[in-house]
């Protein structure tokens, strides 16, 4: 495993209407690491993940993927990133299988079939029912099934534990562990502590206070 970080961010500053959410935030994520972003509501956890995923434009600061500026290699970067936000990205009219098949046209999701992924995440038997019949927790599991299939090295997960039951959280933690052991990396936001030895935390509340 090389020591070069996968993703580096330097001097990130984010202002909403000249009101700083966080400023001068720097860090790096290496292969085999899990970075957990913590902090109270409204401190900018989602915004930071959106910036890392290049959804929110970068105002001040730099993002580097494998040492190269992301503005220059956004295409390669996106091919190596899996993002799951607050909204699962699933169409309620389609079944989980159809949703995963569609997503695999957009993202490199070819490590296993959608059926295998759904079985592994505990949705066997629900492959072909429309998503609007699933519960919130089941929907979240269906979204997390993409993580079983993806070849992306970096996972960006915004509150992935929301709505999951104890078994679901255990399944997700197993997934995360397997991913980092394979040389992947994860950035996630969550309030709950994770039972994983590789976790490093980045507390945003301290940042927010320093910025004010």
């Amino acid at each position: 495993m090389s020591s070069q970080p996968l993703l580096e961010f330097q001097a990130l500053t984010f202002e909403r209407d000249d009101w700083p959410l966080f400023s001068d935030l720097s860090g790096a994520i290496k292969a085999g690491e899990i970075l957990q972003i913590t902090g109270p509501n409204g401190c900018g956890k989602s915004t930071l993940l959106h910036i890392l995923a290049t959804i929110e434009p970068l105002n001040i600061g730099t993002l580097r993927w494998l040492g190269e500026d992301i503005a220059k290699c956004r295409q390669q970067y996106l091919a190596d990133v899996a993002f799951i936000g607050h909204q699962a990205g699933l169409k309620s009219a389609l079944s989980p299988r159809e949703n995963l098949q569609w997503l695999s046209k957009l993202h490199p999701l070819s490590r296993c079939t959608s059926a295998a992924a759904l079985a592994r995440i505990g949705l066997a038997g629900f492959e072909d029912v429309p998503c609007y019949t699933l519960s919130a927790g089941q929907l979240r599991r269906a979204a997390l099934a993409t993580l079983c299939m993806t070849q992306a090295r970096l996972w960006l997960l915004d509150e992935p534990l929301t709505a999951l039951d104890v078994q679901g959280i255990a399944d997700l933690e197993a997934l995360l562990l397997a991913h980092v052991e394979n040389g992947g990396a994860v950035v996630l936001s969550s309030h709950q502590p994770l039972a994983n030895p590789a976790v490093r935390t980045l507390a945003l509340d301290a940042m927010a206070e320093a910025a004010l």
């Binding site: 909403r16 209407d17 000249d18 009101w19 105002n59």
Partner: protein, 245 residues
């Protein structure tokens, strides 16, 4: 060159430098428009066919001129703000929208008032008036869009895109409306015959056009300066400015 460009992009620098020539611009604007108004109302000869109602041209034509030019100014500022991420250009764009809309309204209003003694009706679906009305709608769309975003940066980006799309469309809209008008009624009455005008009529028009250009520049500067203060109100230099007053 680049240094100059970045300096110009600094709102603070712009605020200070624009404050210096603002009074001169205001004086030029008042002198030119006052001269033009008095000359146009009292000393220009009256039109043989239209009589004294023709004197409205001295407001109508300059306003129509700048209403259209203002849209291009707005779109150009939006493009600069989008490409070079220049904050100041965003502010200029936001400042240009209501000004352009107001000038478009003046052009439409004077056109309608002029129409009554000339054609016997306030409103006529003349090609130029109709194009002007569509231009007003384009402005209103941009103003409405700019007011509905919660953050100023996003709002400026969105308006810039819309203004650019509108700019691409304006020539098509103008051509199509022109063509539509010739289709439905042959052009019997031309609103302005500027090239064939008598020099005594034309000179005050020239003064008024110059005056309106100064006026446009003046109000654009004033609006931009307000926008600068609004956006930079948390910076130290604006705080010092507020305390110094």
């Amino acid at each position: 060159m680049w240094q100059w460009f970045h300096k110009l992009g600094s709102p603070r620098w712009f605020y200070q430098i624009s404050g210096k020539f603002l009074p001169w611009l205001a004086v030029a604007c008042v002198v030119l428009i006052a001269t033009g108004v008095v000359w146009g109302l009292a000393f220009a000869p009256q039109d043989a066919r239209q009589g004294n109602s023709f004197r409205i041209i001295y407001i109508h034509v300059p306003a129509s001129f700048l209403a259209l030019a203002g849209y291009y100014v707005m779109a150009a500022a939006g493009a600069v703000g989008m490409i070079w991420k220049m904050k100041l250009a965003d502010m200029v764009m936001v400042a240009a929208a209501p000004l352009g809309a107001a000038l478009t309204f003046i052009a439409l209003f004077t056109g309608a008032v002029w129409g009554k003694p000339t054609w016997g009706t306030y409103w006529i679906w003349d090609a130029r008036i109709t194009s002007m009305l569509v231009l007003l709608f384009l402005y209103i769309g941009i103003i409405a869009l700019s007011r509905s975003f919660s953050t100023r940066e996003t709002s400026a980006r969105a308006c810039a895109i819309l203004a650019l799309v509108g700019t691409v469309n304006i020539p098509i809209i103008y051509k199509s409306v022109d063509w539509w008008y010739t289709l439905h009624q042959p052009a019997t009455i031309k609103l302005s015959g500027a090239p064939s005008m008598h020099p005594d009529m034309f000179k005050p028009l020239l003064v008024m056009i110059l005056g309106f250009y100064c006026f446009y520049a003046l109000v654009l500067l004033l609006n931009t300066r307000t926008e600068i203060l609004l956006r930079e109100r948390r910076t130290t230099w604006v705080k010092e400015l507020a305390e110094g007053k």
